[in-house]
Amino acid sequence: MRTYDRGDTLLITDISTLTSETSRPFKEYAHGALRAEHKFVEVDLSRARTVDSEGMGALISIHKAICARGGRVRLLQPAPLIAGMFTILQLDQLFEIIPR
């Protein structure tokens, strides 16, 4: 997992899974990388094969943190199954999903 600081945007990349095993380190890593100037968080899911409900919980945690400062989370290029799950779970109301 890597982060890139791009002014008001924090970009998180190189995510292979967001599951019960990885969601907690991901959440801690992302929260730790957040700076006061960040208004947007972009999570690159193009390489993520699995995002389970725990992983979704981690993303919601980041969403709440960034929302508190008037920002938004964008999910970049998730696999169709993952994008579909976000839609079924009505999480597309929270996240801006940028399709492949």
Binding site: E21, R49, T50, S53, I60, S61
Partner: protein
């Protein structure tokens, strides 16, 4: 994960330790298995996610005392469908028909929703020591599994046997319970549940689940009491189980199951309370109590168990008990409804009979009597009552007027009124001595009235036309009103006790000369009529009406209409609570 092809599909079994890392490895391993079995990437991804959710739940909710036990996953792939079974050691939960989503900003609570959306079927079988989540999904018809490396013959045999055992266990339990239920349904064919049916049903359940004992209690009128209906007929132990228990008793798992509407388990680690009635079975060992409910209505509790040393119930056996319990609950409810319908039909028939009796009690027309003119009025309330009046001419040209009111309504009241009329007609020679007549009637009615805890009030008035004399005797009845002149209305009470109160009673007689005017005999329905405000019509109003009628020299019919109109105008449509009967009497000639 090793993949084992069999003659009907490919299977894979994995046992993992209870931690999230192992759960993730499991779902990744399962993905590889599915890929080898020819699944598309999307299909494999979906199964990986579903199994990840299932394994996460098994790990997160594992009982603290079972963390050392492995979580087992069995996968089975056939050309048509895929099945996964995840056996956990959690306290278990009730699988909702359709899981609901939590609020969007909630960070948890989406696992079941995901599982249900990723599979075609999701069932959760609950057992005492373990539970099993069964997931199934149809396969795409276009997929062809690729050739797999040949497994060793030993592996193949072992895995095939394991899969066969799994399928046999489920099929056997499903088949046995379904076939038994169908058989019982065919036997019942709409008839009510009999004791014989219950006992055969219990025997069947004991055999199917290899249980040692079974206790069935049903709610007895009130859901607060559970009455013993049957136990397993083993070693005569059924005789010692409590006949009745309170559904709220804290020291009984049957009562807990009833009050909490959920299965309550016991075993060596959570034994029965010292005072639990099931302890009377000897050494209850392990088992559970299941409430029998239909639409949240508690019907009873079924308890089943094995004696000490017996193994714990597995998920399949629990499922059989639950299925039988639910089926039996439906049968009990169906029987109750049939009985309610039968009682309802009986009540209707009862009312029909009572109405017919009531009609035969009242004279179609009061007889012509030389010295009197009579006009009768009768109005029934919603239910059939026991009001009765009659005019019986005597052989010497006089007449006995009878007015009676049986306490209560329905068939019993009508029957007693009928009995009273028969007795009155049996002794016409007593007509001229109404007090003595009432004493005789009381003597003959007392045993039956006393047994039925009923009584009746009556008034007898003998009109001696030759002498212009009236002899009146009453048994707890309202007074007779006599308008002797245009301004005076006299009450003739002549009171003794109601009939049926004392085995032997005397009834004073009042005699007076009546040369003219109007008289009225009536039941309490007349003066106890109510208006919409709940006020009573009252005796004074009736007296005033009779006095006014006498002043106007009104005829019998006119007075009857006056009183009927008075009732109608006073009540203003208020339904009468009681029957109303009255007879207006005028003297037409003096001898």
């Amino acid at each position: 994960m090793a993949s084992i092809p069999t003659h009907f599909g490919q299977t894979c079994t994995q046992e993992l330790p209870c931690d999230v890392v192992a759960a993730s490895e499991l779902s990744r391993g399962a993905r590889e298995f599915f890929a080898q079995a020819g699944f598309t990437a999307t299909e494999s991804d979906a199964w990986e996610l579903a199994l990840a959710e299932a394994a996460n739940n098994a790990v997160k909710h594992c009982r603290p005392d079972a963390r050392h036990l492995a979580i087992r996953v069995d996968l089975l792939v056939t050309p048509e469908w895929t099945e996964a079974r995840v056996t956990d050691h959690t306290p278990g939960f009730t699988m909702p028909e359709k899981a609901e989503l939590p609020p969007p900003d909630s960070e948890s609570g989406r696992g079941l929703f995901l599982i249900q959306n990723l599979t075609d079927e999701a069932h959760y079988l609950r057992g005492r020591g373990e539970n099993c989540l069964v997931l199934r999904k149809q396969r795409s018809p276009t997929q062809e599994p690729p050739a797999l490396p040949p497994p060793s013959a030993t592996d193949e045999l072992r895995e095939a046997q394991r899969t066969l055992d799994l399928m046999t266990e489920e099929l056997a339990s499903s088949y046995e319970s379904l076939s038994a239920i169908f058989r019982f349904c065919a036997e019942l064919q709409g008839s009510v549940v009999s004791d014989e049916f219950i006992h055969r049903w219990l025997d069947q359940l004991l055999t199917l689940t290899e249980s040692d004992w079974l206790v069935l209690r049903l709610c007895d009128r009130s859901p607060q009491q559970l009455r013993l209906v049957a136990t397993s007929a083993q070693a005569g132990r059924c005789e010692v189980v409590c006949r009745e228990i309170a559904a709220t008793a804290a020291d009984s798992i049957e009562a807990q199951a009833a009050s909490q509407r959920r299965d309550v388990w016991f075993d060596a680690s959570s034994p029965l309370a010292p005072k639990d009635p099931l302890r009377q079975l000897g050494e209850p060992g392990c088992g559970f109590a299941r409430p029998l409910c239909v639409n949240d209505t508690l019907l009873g509790v079924l308890s089943i168990g094995r004696r000490d040393g017996g193994r714990a119930f597995n998920a399949g056996e629990v499922s059989v008990v639950q299925t039988f319990g639910d089926f039996f609950g439906l049968q009990i409810r169906s029987t109750q409804m049939q009985e309610e319908q039968f009682r309802s039909r009986l009540n209707l028939r009862d009312l029909e009979i009572a109405a017919n009796l009531q009609r035969t009690l009242l004279p179609e027309q009061l007889p012509s009597v030389p010295c009197l003119t009579l006009a009768g009025f009768y109005r029934s309330a919603r239910e059939i009552g026991g009001d009765y009046y009659e005019a019986l001419p005597t052989a010497d040209g006089n007449v006995l007027l009878v007015m009676a009111d049986v306490m209560g309504k329905g068939l019993p009241a009508a029957l007693f009124a009928f009995m009273f009329r028969s007795l009155v007609r049996a002794r016409p020679e007593l007509a001229s001595r109404p007090g003595e007549f009432l004493a005789w009637l009381n003597e003959h009615l007392f045993p039956e009235l006393d047994r039925a805890e009923m009584f009746l009030t009556a008034q007898l008035a003998y009109f001696d036309c030759q002498r212009g004399e009236i002899r009146v005797a009453g048994a707890g009845h309202l007074p007779m009103l006599v308008a002797r002149s245009t301004s005076e209305v006299q009450e003739i009470a002549a009171g003794g006790p109601p009939l049926g109160i004392f085995a032997a009673a005397s009834f004073p007689e009042e005699r007076f000369l009546w040369t003219g005017g109007r008289a009225l005999m009536f039941t309490d329905g007349l003066i106890e009529a109510r208006n919409p405000g709940g006020e009573l019509l009252g005796l004074d109003t009736v007296r005033a009406a009779l006095a006014e009628a006498a002043r106007g020299d009104e005829s019998c019919d006119t007075i009857r209409h006056r009183l009927a109109r008075l009732l109608q105008e006073f009540e203003q449509g208020t339904p009468p609570a009681d029957d109303t009967a009255f007879v207006v009497i005028t003297r037409t000639s003096a001898n």
